[in-house]
């Protein structure tokens, strides 16, 4: 068990730090959160800088245009960019972390050449059209239909909770190519398509979140024609293709966020000392407890990343365990922030209040806590499936 970084890893960190110190002051001011075109331009602009400096697609395989970095280097990258206050991945999230890696793993040479370079260069943004009104936790129950018509699929249906749909160029779309029947269970019969968001028949209707913003949208698909060449993987094999995407996580999914939470915790303590709430031992203990918690979550991250490194990038079973605890801790952090703020906790102009609101999605998005507990119980502990 070794927690020290190798010379090579430290060199990588030093180079990255120097670059960040140089480039961050040159960035334009952050756009208003409601200015979607501005946000897109800002996020893609940051990606372009990463690309020019050779940091784009750090964790992608080399033959996909990435740098083939080890999970530990990826951890260092995420840790240092967060520490330095660099922009978040933002509108590039799906391209860099879901759609891109899926295409890299399952796409043809032609598909890789078409879609991967623009993601890395920050030319094109992707969104993820998986969830539907009647297919959330039970994703495989999705019903959006794709019917073959010559060398096109004709796609009809609707998607929901599609983050960044308004500013995306492409959508990784799960569709049903073979109806469920006695012989075809719901997990079969699904295909993975790259949908151009400007195709005729695509309508995006923004949904307002409880934070008041429009982070996600509904997407209606009315006889949208998608070339068969936009299908990644075999027809009806989309469920497996999608699981490949999910397994790209390598324990690094929440690195930046854990670093950010620890910084916020420090700021909470400073604020509490200033406004006198520090004298409340119950609050103090709560803050101390969170400090213990996030330190342990950081150690668990290092554990999971090391495991991924040993298994050649294949993630262990740690992801669900981590997400369960982390999403809860994050909500706890912002509930404590509200305690520190007192009456200020009702003031939407305070960033912690907005962060508190967005923390509420952590136990829902990307697999609810109940689903994660089912996964831990069934796949790790081997408990039987219920009836």
């Amino acid at each position: 068990m070794d927690l020290t970084y190798t010379e090579e890893e430290e060199e990588f960190r030093a180079g990255l730090r120097a670059w960040l110190a140089d480039v961050l002051p040159q960035l334009p001011p952050r756009p208003d959160p409601t200015d979607w075109p501005g946000r897109r331009a800002y996020d893609l602009g940051w990606q372009r800088r990463l690309y020019d400096a050779g940091y784009a697609g750090l964790h992608w395989p080399v033959d996909a245009g990435g740098r083939g970095a080890t999970p530990t280097q990826h951890l260092i990258y995420l840790e240092e960019t967060e520490r330095a206050g660099a922009p978040y991945v933002g509108a590039n999230f799906v391209g860099l972390l879901h759609a891109g890696p899926t295409i890299a793993a399952e796409g043809t040479a032609e598909q890789r050449a078409r879609w991967l370079p623009p993601i890395l260069r920050g030319d094109e943004a992707w969104c993820q059209g998986f969830s539907e009104p009647d297919a959330g936790s039970d994703l495989a129950a999705l019903r959006t239909r794709a019917v073959r018509d010559g060398d096109h699929y004709v796609v009809t249906g609707s998607k929901i909770w599609t983050s960044h749909a308004e500013v995306a160029d492409w959508c990784e779309l799960l569709v049903r190519t073979t109806p469920v029947s006695e012989d075809v269970p719901k997990h079969r019969g699904i295909s993975w398509l790259a949908l151009p968001m400007d195709a005729p028949g695509v309508t995006v209707r923004p949904l307002r979140t409880l934070a008041g913003s429009t982070e996600f949208a509904e997407m209606f698909l009315d006889e949208v024609r998608v070339p068969v060449g936009n299908r990644v993987g075999d027809e009806n094999d989309g469920w497996r293709v999608t699981m490949v995407t999910l397994s790209f996580e390598r324990g690094t999914a929440f690195v930046g966020e854990v670093v950010a939470c620890r910084r916020t915790l420090g700021a909470l303590a400073a604020e509490a000392r200033k406004n006198g709430r520090w004298d409340d031992p119950v609050l103090r203990r709560r803050l101390g407890r969170l400090n213990v918690e996030f330190n342990a979550l950081w150690r668990l991250t290092q554990w999971n990343v090391s495991e991924a490194q040993r298994t050649g990038g294949v993630p262990g079973t740690g992801g669900s365990v981590f997400k369960l605890r982390y999403s809860h801790a994050r909500q706890e952090l912002y509930d404590t922030a509200a305690e520190v703020l007192g009456a200020g906790a009702l003031d939407l102009d305070h960033e912690w209040v907005l962060d508190r609101l967005s923390s509420l999605s952590y136990t829902i998005a990307a697999g609810t806590s109940q689903i994660q507990q089912n996964i831990v119980a069934e796949r790790i502990l081997g408990l039987p499936k219920g009836r």
Binding site: M1, D2, L3, T4, Y5, T6, E9, T72, L75, L265, G266, L268, A269, A270, P281, R284, R285, R286, L287, G288, R289, N291, V292, N295, A296, L297, R299, L300, Q302, W303, V305, S306, E307, Q309, R310, G318, V321, L324, R325, Q370, Q372, Q373, N374, V376, A377, E378, I380, L381, G382, L383, P384, K385, G386, R387
Partner: protein, 291 residues
Amino acid sequence: MDFQLTEDQRDLQQGVRELLAGRFDREALRDLADGPEGPVLDRELWRELGAAGFFALRLPESEGGVGLGLPEAVLAFEEAGRALLPGPLVATHLAAGAVEGAATGDTVVTAVDSSGLVPWLDAADVVRGDAAGAVPVRSADPLTPLHRAPARPPAAQDPVAVLLTAAEQLGSAARSCETAVTYARERSQFGQPIGAFQAVKHLCAQMLVRTELARAAVYAAAVTADPAEIRAAGLLADEAAVRGARDCLQVYGGMGFTWEADVHLHLKRAWLRSELGPSAGAVEEEWAAAL
């Protein structure tokens, strides 16, 4: 960075597990718990542990030790926690090299905890700390005889003692989770294994989550040997062990409330270990002050 067990560490873990399975199995555990005269310290086992290097693990080879470090000691104590091995293991391990015969297991050493609790006072050959005025307590843990010395001003605790106790808690937490899962697969109600019910599944999942978080914390503390990190790991390990045993009891239903099931033995020892070492409040205050 390679924060995973090395092959040697895995071998050591396996070795200690096999030694304990062969020498202190369930029957031995139950004999102690059910015996009419209360727990007796098995001197022969103690010497076998000594011969296997359990106490001399961290002593330099030049002093007749095994020359290993804190991470290896943590792995060994985790196994002891899993097996619910009785005796003042931590105190004797810490005395190796300082007290004649401790390293070999010929001398049994106990210590007075800052709480005033003294485990195994009558059985020990040597007591470290001031046990004057200690009176016997009717111990809640059937496998650990206890005395209580008059309260003294809190002394600084040896971080290594805190860490090794945390390692035992970790082993106990992992064991409780496994025990609950095994039972949940075997016991049926309403025509299906109780482990197929989500309420039971989710209890088990949270047991694992607490255990794995504590594992990362305890192992990291063993690597850094940082006293504050050790105390934080102790806090999480206490929680994983105590709540793990509680949830295991719940999964066992009425059987969990019996003397016959081992669940209560884990719970009571976990309670005792939580009492030794710094309190949760003190650790939380320490980590708040560090912010």
